[in-house]
């Protein structure tokens, strides 16, 4: 009988299942994992240090680039921290817009997740369908901010501008013309809210399609049921939040428990899992998409009925309009000071968290009264989740590591910051 010893295997950082730049050093006993040591930081950009050398507003764009599939939720945490220290509150309409875009972002994130996770585990088709809907929602991002991903749309004191009256349309091209063009533009005849109304009316049937492909799929269940079981105690010890915690049956959602923006007024449910395995977390996230859809519909209804300002009328924080700036001396001075120096935030510290699609995304902000933050720390859910990798995958097979990376919903922009 030949003697077999443990061996060490390298995974990543360039691997399609690594969801970016994860490097794993795995100690294996045959196909079984004995120990795994994740190496992160390959995408470390020092966002927090960069933010210390810039006026507050100039760092909002960095937040988009942290978790680059749930952009506006990151902005929300940062902007809320600044608003808390400034003691200002965004107008009600801006709060509804933020609530709506947080949920649009959640759907965007979960679509990316369901597609890439299924792709990792051998189901090719799902990502193609998921990106069909992602495309529509990215158009909404673009309509409101001009950018498909890195929106920089939330600002301290509100949002950059009000929702557009017109939705962008597809132009005629060799690929889209005649009746086909008319069909793909049929939702886009009215305002952005009309488009969202049409989208959300249709979206539950699209979620049914994804579920059709996966929920009762024999291979999908073999790859996820009973894999990566996280007990509620383990989840809390390892600082897990979001779907990782809810999948284990802990009913914890900041949108319900510590509501911010307009979540207190929204009617929605928190799905929880039972077994805490990859399959339960899949079910939780799919249901979250349906619940987000419900919230978006409620916001659309409110936003249609209630026009109003979307930015505080405080020119120490928010810039005056272009017209005012051209006609009014004081507005010009405000504009100049705001864009050359920024605003000073009173000394103090705060921790503000939002329920980002991946879990609790928090911003710990320390100000010494200057126009730049003294310290910004961003609490990324993925960082805490990934640290539990070693504990959870020990004894699993090599292929289950891929299932686990998928179920963590890792994005290295936020893990490495």
């Amino acid at each position: 009988m030949q003697e077999i010893r443990n061996y060490t295997m390298n995974f990543g950082p360039q691997h399609p299942a690594a969801h970016g730049v994860l490097r794993l050093i795995m100690e294996m006993d045959g196909e079984t994992i004995v120990r795994v040591d994740p190496h992160v930081g390959l995408l470390h950009r020092g966002t927090e240090k960069l933010a210390e050398s810039k006026p507050f507003n100039q760092s909002i764009g960095y937040m988009d680039r942290l978790d680059y599939v749930s952009m506006m939720c990151n902005e929300h945490a940062y902007v809320r921290a600044i608003e808390t220290l400034l003691g200002i509150e965004a107008p009600e309409r801006a709060q509804y817009i933020r609530t709506m875009f947080d949920e649009i972002t959640r759907i965007l994130n979960h679509l990316m997740w369901i597609g890439s996770n299924a792709l990792d585990l051998g189901a090719m088709a799902v990502i193609l369908y998921a990106f069909r809907e992602r495309e529509e929602l990215m158009d909404v991002y673009e309509a409101v901010s001009g950018a498909r991903m890195h929106a920089t749309y939330y600002r301290p004191g509100g949002v950059y501008r009000d929702l557009p009256e017109q939705m962008s349309k597809y132009r005629e091209s060799p690929w889209h013309k005649g009746a086909d063009l008319k069909r793909i533009n049929s939702w886009r005849e009215g305002s952005m809210l009309d488009f969202l109304d049409a989208f959300t009316a249709d979206f539950p049937s699209k979620v049914d399609e994804y579920e059709e492909l996966l929920t009762t799929n024999r291979i999908w269940k073999q790859r996820t049921v009973g894999i990566g079981v996280v007990s509620p105690e383990l989840a809390q010890q390892w600082g897990m939040t979001g779907a990782m915690l809810r999948g284990s049956g802990v009913e914890w959602d900041l949108r319900k428990k510590q509501p911010y923006a307009k979540y207190a007024e929204m009617d929605f449910d928190i799905p929880v899992g039972v077994n805490g395995d990859c399959y339960d977390r899949y079910l939780v996230r799919v249901e979250e998409m349906r619940q987000s859809n419900r919230i978006i519909r409620q916001c659309v209804e409110w936003l249609r009925a209630n026009p109003g300002p979307v930015m505080v009328k405080n020119f120490k924080v928010a810039p005056p309009s272009r017209v005012e700036m051209k006609q009014d001396m004081e507005a010009l001075i405000h504009h100049f000071k705001l864009f050359t120096e920024g605003y000073c935030v009173p000394a103090g510290e705060t921790y503000c968290a939002v329920e980002a699609p991946k879990g609790e995304f928090g911003c710990y902000l320390v100000s010494d009264g200057a126009n730049k933050p003294f310290r910004v720390h961003l609490r990324a859910p993925g960082f805490a989740h990934l640290s539990s990798m070693d504990t959870i995958v020990r004894g699993h097979m090599l292929a289950d590591v891929v299932a686990m990376i998928g179920t963590y919903d890792l994005v290295f922009g936020e893990v490495d910051r």
Binding site: V40, G41, H44, G46, E48, K49, L50, E52, S53, K54, T84, I88, Q236, Q237, W238, G239, M240, T241, W252, K257, Q258, V312, K313, N314, F315, K316, V317, E324, E341, G342, Y343, C344, V345, P346, A347, G348, T350, Y351, A353, E360, G362, Y364, V366, D368, G369, A370, N371, K372, F374, R375, H377, R379, F383, A384, L386, S387, S388, T391, D416, R417
Partner: protein, 244 residues
């Protein structure tokens, strides 16, 4: 935070821990400052005792208080120097590795602290702990890995970025910076532009490290203004003179 029980968290903490904690509550956020020596006992009690049950450690981060309140643009007095103040300041981000500040012989107050955010799911409450390190040249804090295992990577991060040493940590390696990195990049006396840059050298046919070639440059000077409390702004937005 939202469903506050009959006695506030600050009162409960004061009753239980007495002088061990220096407690402040600002905007419903409770902050407790404590000595490094007390941290392990307090943390264990906060996790286990039914009145607290902080089952989750949400976050731990380092912070360097060097240069707190330091400005580059004086707003109190009129100075004779002009625009160059804006580009020739001395604060963070404007020096390179060779010109980094070396401290003034230990006259500063304590620099390093570890800040911990706790969450109690049972009571729906948060608590922030702050532990200052006594010695700036060897910042030392006891590790909490035995209380909340999830703190492991957060402590590695604080060690990597600030050089805070967590006593008792099982595996205190660098986590975010490059293999073989020198220095602790988030310290306020570490240059924003970094110390080395990396490129592929076609002659040696390998990746090499060189001192950074970029000039440190910060466009906006750091200022502290007294109107930071925004009183004037509130008054302006209240009287709605633009609508008249």
């Amino acid at each position: 935070m939202t469903n506050t029980p009959k006695t506030s968290l600050a009162e409960q903490l004061a009753a239980r821990f007495g002088d061990t904690l220096a407690i402040t509550t600002v905007r419903n956020e409770t902050v407790a400052e404590l000595a490094a020596a007390d941290l392990l006992a307090v943390a264990t009690a906060l996790r286990d005792e039914p009145a607290f049950r902080f089952s989750e450690l949400i976050d731990l981060c380092g912070i360097d208080y060097l240069g707190y309140g330091q400005v580059e643009w004086d707003t109190e007095t009129i100075s004779g120097t002009g625009f160059s103040r804006g580009v020739e300041g001395e604060a963070q981000g404007r020096f390179d590795w060779a010109g980094r500040p070396r401290g003034n012989g230990g006259n500063e107050p304590r620099r390093f602290a570890a800040v911990i955010q706790l969450l109690s799911i049972e009571h729906n409450r948060r608590l922030r702990l702050r532990v200052f390190c006594e010695d700036d040249s060897l910042p030392l804090v006891p590790s909490l890995t035995l209380v909340w295992p999830g703190v492991n990577w957060f402590e590695r991060e604080a060690f990597d970025l600030y050089g805070i040493i967590f006593d008792g940590h099982p595996d205190l390696r660098r986590i975010l910076t490059d293999y073989g990195f020198v220095g602790h990049p988030f310290r306020k006396d570490f240059p924003l532009v970094g110390n080395v840059e990396v490129r592929y050298d076609p002659v040696q046919q390998r990746v090499i490290y060189e001192p950074v070639s970029i000039e440190p440059r910060v466009l906006v000077p750091r200022t502290i203004r007294d109107d930071a409390d925004l009183m004037q702004a509130r008054a302006e937005s209240a009287d709605n003179w633009r609508e008249n």
